[in-house]
């Protein structure tokens, strides 16, 4: 799914009359392969069940840009909008407007608040992400030593929740010898993530591991550790794209890292959008529906809202990276 | 070889809407100093730019040493030995003196194309020395005074080993003394075999230097004469198309009570202990060498440059002047020395320029009333005899003299008592000069007190009721009209400082 696809798709929309069901998906920004894969899965799902697809993203990852796009989608009277929000709250008014006009709204990947969506398609339970990352790290450093976190921007909602759960997990007495010394922010910029990593190394000479729950951060850290020849001395783990991380998994800097399959996440979102649009489900707790190749899915509670959980994060290591790096 | 180093025939140059040159002829002999004269806007500068290849003529032919040429850029003219010192400074303020001299024909190592800085600095120093100046070749051009910059421009022309040197009003910014130095330089260049074309509005320059004079009027060629073959009157007649017999008008009004008193005004680095007074209806000439600090004193009075010590009394009352707006409120107006950079908004029409200082007269609570604005602009424009069709004509399209008249008209809209004129006739032709003198004298007779800065000795003596002479930031002498003579003034301006 890329730009040209999108526009050809849209022509169908404008010529195809109003009878076909149209599902729209809005990702955070363009030029993000993770998002492209997710949209690919979304499109695949809709093609399976029938309907038109509109795939849009602003050029910058801002809520303002997404608001513009959503307004345009409302004008086009699409049947559902699936959004990966750039801001939890800021989209609420415009998404509410969409829902008031009968458009089904669901979020995927990074949630918007409960009031602005009908359901959230959650790639993985944040608690399990936090736990998995800590478990893996502890394993790599023999339950002992200083660790640090390299996150995206200081206001990235997902990352913050994951970090919160990591901290909660660390309270478990089996981790008493592990100390989280710093949370650094690389703003999802290559250069900033690099200098933040370098600063971590300088500041904490005894550092044993870095956890980076962001694809840009983990790749930048992987590069720094590789260049400094710290493979084996400092372990790196987190959430990364297999394609970006293949080199560092193969060279041992990252013994293991995690991610879900964005294609599946997008696919699930597409199926959920379809179910909502067909009014098979209303997005309430207990609703269940058939999600194609993923089987039956059930809607569960998530804080104030509801969600569909796809599964636990998938572990990538030397044994399987070869087959995945070409995929996404 | 041809009899003429340079010959132009039937040159015509059109700008959008203007014919700047209309079938102009010109002939220059080897080793000749040839004056080019004419009113402001006659087309002299344009003519020069055609010769140097800046402008391409629309029609006409040009011969250098008998060979027909046509330049597509200034570089080609330079290569044929033509160098020019343009009317408006064309230097690089951020670059060193050496670079300014050699820009366009730097010395480079043949193989590596590396610039030969040492050689250029030495050469620059040598040329400057030969011109009797010891400006540091490494100094920034922007830090030099106008006169020093002029010297550098001449050095630049010399450094190209030019055979034809053109000077467009080189003396406009110079005092008598400095002009004298320039004459010597010009003559020595001539002796070395160069031909010089010389533009000036000063008759002294022409009589002192030129052997031949060519006159342009309204873009047209009027004629060429040997200096000895034409009388002053005929020359003026040729230039302005009418007779001007008396350049300095007679005083009409009386001198009244004291308007302004300045006591011990000082500003570190610029001027010190300035004390003088000004009366109603009086014209006070302020003269001295360029760089004496006259402009700074007057700008202090006008609130542009805060003074540090001393006091200013207006009508006996002590006042503080901190901005031009306050100065104008108190009745002081100032005509800046650089009319293009400081005096006018060239991209605007005449009318809007005239009314800019007094916009609140034509507005109600900030809203402009363009009708009354335009009427006043027309009235004032006519009062100073601006030569144009309408008040909407752009100032940039006017000649220097007419631009100056617009700048003067700006001062007349305010209710002012004191008018400070900084070099009001710089670069202005005889006709316009006499008109400006006339305006000044009329203003004085209307009761304005006038301070006139000027570097032209005859003008100061001819116009002023009293003359203050400045040297290095101090007033060295105040003279009455009767005491004044060129010698006395020069002595005061050059006087060595007394031991203190």
């Amino acid at each position: 799914a890329c730009g040209s696809d999108t526009s050809s798709q849209s022509e169908e929309v404008s010529t195809g009359g109003n009878e076909a069901v149209t599902h729209a998906m809005v990702f955070k920004n363009t030029g993000n392969p993770y998002g492209e894969k997710m949209m690919e899965g979304f499109e695949e799902a809709i093609q399976e069940v029938g309907g038109d697809v509109i795939l849009r993203s602003p050029d910058q990852p801002t809520a303002e840009g997404q608001i513009q796009i959503i307004e345009q989608l409302i004008t086009q009277q699409v049947d559902s909008i699936t959004i990966a929000g750039n801001d939890e709250d800021a989209l609420q008014p415009v998404l509410k407007k969409a829902m008031d006009q009968g458009i089904k709204v669901l979020s995927v990947d990074s949630a918007v608040n409960a009031g602005s969506r009908m359901v959230h398609v959650n790639q993985a339970n944040p608690e399990s992400i936090g736990r998995t990352l800590i478990e893996a790290t502890a394993d790599m450093i023999d339950f002992e030593g200083e660790i640090a976190v390299l996150s995206a921007t200081s206001q990235a909602a997902n990352q913050n929740i994951w970090i919160e759960y990591m901290q909660k997990e660390l309270e478990d007495p089996i981790y008493e010898n592990i100390e989280l010394v710093k949370i650094a922010y690389g703003d999802d910029l290559r250069d900033k993530s690099t200098s933040e990593t370098e600063a971590l190394l300088l500041q904490y000479p005894d550092l044993k591991a870095i956890i980076s729950p962001t694809t840009v951060g983990i790749a930048a850290a992987g590069k720094v550790l590789t260049d400094k020849g710290l493979s084996g001395e400092i372990a790196l783990t987190g959430l990364g794209l297999p394609s970006e991380m293949a080199t560092y998994i193969e060279n041992g800097v990252t013994p293991a890292m995690f991610l879900w399959n964005p294609i599946d996440v997008g696919y699930a979102a597409g199926m959920t959008a379809h179910a909502l649009a067909e009014e098979e489900i209303l997005g309430e707790v207990g609703d269940s529906y058939e999600a194609g190749k993923l089987g039956e899915k059930e809607i569960t509670e998530d804080g104030e809202g509801t969600e569909v959980l796809i599964g636990d994060p998938f572990r990538f290591d030397v044994n399987n990276i070869e087959e995945w790096k070409e995929v996404y | 070889m041809s009899e003429y180093v340079l010959e132009l025939k039937e040159i015509t140059k059109k700008f959008p809407g203007v014919i700047a040159l209309d079938r102009v002829h010109f002939k220059l002999r080897p080793g000749e100093i040839h004056a080019l004269m004419g009113e402001n806007g006659a087309g002299k500068s344009t003519f020069i730019k055609v010769i140097t290849g800046v402008h391409a003529p629309n029609e006409g032919e040009m011969y250098v040493n008998g060979e027909k040429v046509s330049f597509s850029n200034p570089k080609e003219a330079q290569e044929l030995g033509i160098a020019a010192i343009y009317q408006h400074v064309t230097n690089y303020p951020d670059l060193s003196v050496t670079e300014n001299i050699f820009m366009g024909h730097q010395k480079v190592q043949k193989l590596t194309r590396r610039l030969r800085w040492k050689e250029m600095h030495a050469e620059a120093a040598r040329i400057l020395q030969s011109l009797g100046s010891n400006i540091d070749p490494k100094a920034d051009m922007g830090s030099l005074s106008v006169a020093q910059q002029q010297i550098v421009e001449i050095a630049k022309a010399i450094s190209t080993k030019a055979k034809i040197i053109i000077m467009d009003e080189p003396t406009a910014a110079l005092t008598a003394r400095e002009s004298e130095e320039l004459y010597k330089i010009a003559e020595s260049l001539k002796e070395q075999g160069a031909s010089i074309i010389f533009i000036s509005h000063r008759f002294e320059d022409m009589y002192r230097l030129a052997s031949q004079v060519t006159v342009l009027r309204d873009s047209k060629y009027i004629g060429s004469w040997a200096i000895d073959d034409i009388t002053n009157e005929d020359l003026i007649m040729a230039m302005v198309g009418r007779e001007i017999t008396q350049v300095y008008p007679d005083k009409k009004g009386d001198i009244g009570e004291k308007l302004l008193e300045v006591n011990g005004l000082s500003k570190a680095g610029y001027f010190a202990d300035i004390t003088f007074s000004l009366h109603k209806g009086e014209i006070l000439g302020l003269t001295g060498l360029v760089g004496a600090g006259r402009t700074e004193v007057c700008q202090s009075l006008f609130g542009l440059m805060p003074y540090e010590e001393g006091e200013i009394l207006l009508n006996g009352k002590k006042v503080m002047i901190q901005s031009p707006k306050e100065a104008m409120k108190l009745g002081i107006g100032y005509l800046p020395e650089d009319r293009q950079a400081q005096g006018l908004i060239l991209q605007w029409g005449i009318g809007k320029n005239i009314t800019l200082p007094s916009l609140n007269h034509f507005s109600k609570k900030g809203w402009l009333r363009e009708k009354s604005e335009n009427e006043v602009a027309k009235e004032l424009g006519e009062k100073v005899h601006i030569k144009a069709n309408s008040i909407f004509d752009l100032v940039s399209s006017l000649s220097g003299g007419n631009q100056q008249k617009v700048a003067v008209a700006k001062l007349l809209t305010k209710k002012l008592d004191i008018i400070i004129l900084d070099e009001p006739t710089k670069g202005v032709d005889v006709g316009a000069k006499s008109a400006i003198y006339d305006i000044i004298q009329n203003l004085a007779s209307e009761g304005y007190g006038i301070i006139m800065i000027s570097s032209e000795m005859p003008e100061v003596i001819g116009m002023s009721d009293r003359i203050a002479v400045m040297k290095s930031g101090r007033i060295t002498k105040v003279l009455d009209k009767k005491q004044a003579s060129q010698e006395v003034i020069l002595e005061a301006a050059m006087l060595e400082k007394k031991e203190s």
Binding site: S7, A63, E71, A156 | T245, Q246, K325, Y334, P357, S434
Partner: protein, 346 residues
């Protein structure tokens, strides 16, 4: 005896003759033409475009930053530029949300504080620019751009702040008599700023300074004061943008309005205001706001990808500024002359 009085007394025309040709060879006509073309193409491409609701909603989307266009026109006429406006939007909205949520200040007061913060940001820009004349406005506002947003981060850290009262959403979403409130306010400001720039002494002084700052100072224009006022206005309008933005999003964060300055500058430049100063009119910029707004909206309706949108906007800007390089009027005259010459030669 005294001959120098024999001047030909000239009269100066003081009523501007109306020239139909000049009137029609104005940049604004080109813009209007472009605008109509944009409307036409859009309505052909998308059946949704010409719906009244669509057009109305579209103005709601793109007008928020357009408020900054007005003072930016003045700033660019002054030959300056202000690249800190986006940060000012962020800071003033963050302060508004914080005083409302953390200090319990009533929303009405918070709005006033927001405008005050914007004004203060603009005032500081103006003050630094006039006090440090050696530095250009780009330099100063580049510094404050980073500083203001930095302060917004210090205040709100990683939080969003919202929970505004119900009525606050009226700014971003409300209609009066079926017309979006934001559009009404935009029109009011458009008229006010147009009059201010073209019909008052203040506006005249802005043009004077843009053409020749020194000459203006020598003519008694209080250049420092004018400049500070204009930059303060920019701050105030940024604060107004902040209110609309916060209202539309129901909350705010330190990273809102990122790069708004570039969008605003694009609109102003398309409106025919040259960054070389002294030229251009308010009307042009106002039309440009609608051109870019509706173009983006229309392209969005046919789901053009945002990368193609970037290319199209860039190209439009280039073409738009390239056209007047060939001075319309003069080109026309020159062409006529050439044609005449050719017929003469034949």
């Amino acid at each position: 005896m005294v001959k120098h009085h024999e001047y030909v007394q000239r009269t100066l025309e003081h009523k501007q003759a109306f020239s139909l040709k000049k009137f029609f060879f104005q940049w604004e006509w080109v813009l209007i033409l472009v605008f109509l073309i944009v409307l036409m193409i859009n309505s052909n491409l998308s059946p949704y475009f010409l719906s009244i609701n669509g057009l109305k909603d579209a103005t709601m989307i793109f007008l928020d930053k357009a408020f900054i266009v007005f003072p930016m026109v003045m700033i660019m006429i002054l030959r300056d530029i202000d690249i800190s406006v986006g940060s000012t939007v962020a800071l003033s909205s963050v302060v508004m949300a914080t005083v409302y949520n953390s200090l319990g200040v009533p929303m009405e007061v918070a709005i006033v504080i927001c405008i005050f913060v914007g004004a203060l940001c603009g005032f500081i820009n103006g003050l630094l620019i006039v006090k440090f004349k050696e530095l250009s406005a780009v330099i100063v506002t580049l510094g404050t751009m980073i500083l203001y947003r930095g302060i917004a981060y210090v205040i709100l850290e990683d939080q969003a702040s919202g929970n505004f009262p119900e009525w606050f959403s009226f700014f971003g979403w409300g209609n009066i008599g079926g017309i979006p409130f934001i559009l009404i306010l935009f029109i009011i400001f458009a008229i006010a700023f147009t009059l201010l720039l073209h019909k008052t002494t203040f506006g005249r002084q802005i043009y004077a300074m843009g053409n020749n700052d020194t000459a203006s100072r020598f003519s008694g224009v209080q250049v420092d004061k004018v400049k500070i006022i204009v930059f303060t206005l920019a701050g105030i309008m940024a604060a107004i943008t902040a209110i609309f933005l916060a209202s539309r999003m129901g909350s705010t964060r330190p990273n809102v309005a990122n790069m708004y300055e570039l969008d605003v500058i694009t609109m102003v430049a398309l409106g025919g205001i040259s960054t070389a100063g002294g030229k251009g009119r308010m009307l042009g910029a106002i039309i440009a706001v609608f051109i870019i707004g509706y173009l983006q909206y229309g392209l969005g309706l046919i789901n053009i990808s945002s990368q193609s949108m970037l290319i199209i906007i860039g190209a439009l800007l280039l073409i738009a500024v390239a056209i007047p390089k060939v001075n319309l009027y003069h080109t026309f005259e020159r062409l006529k002359e050439k044609r005449k010459a050719r017929t003469r030669n034949k």
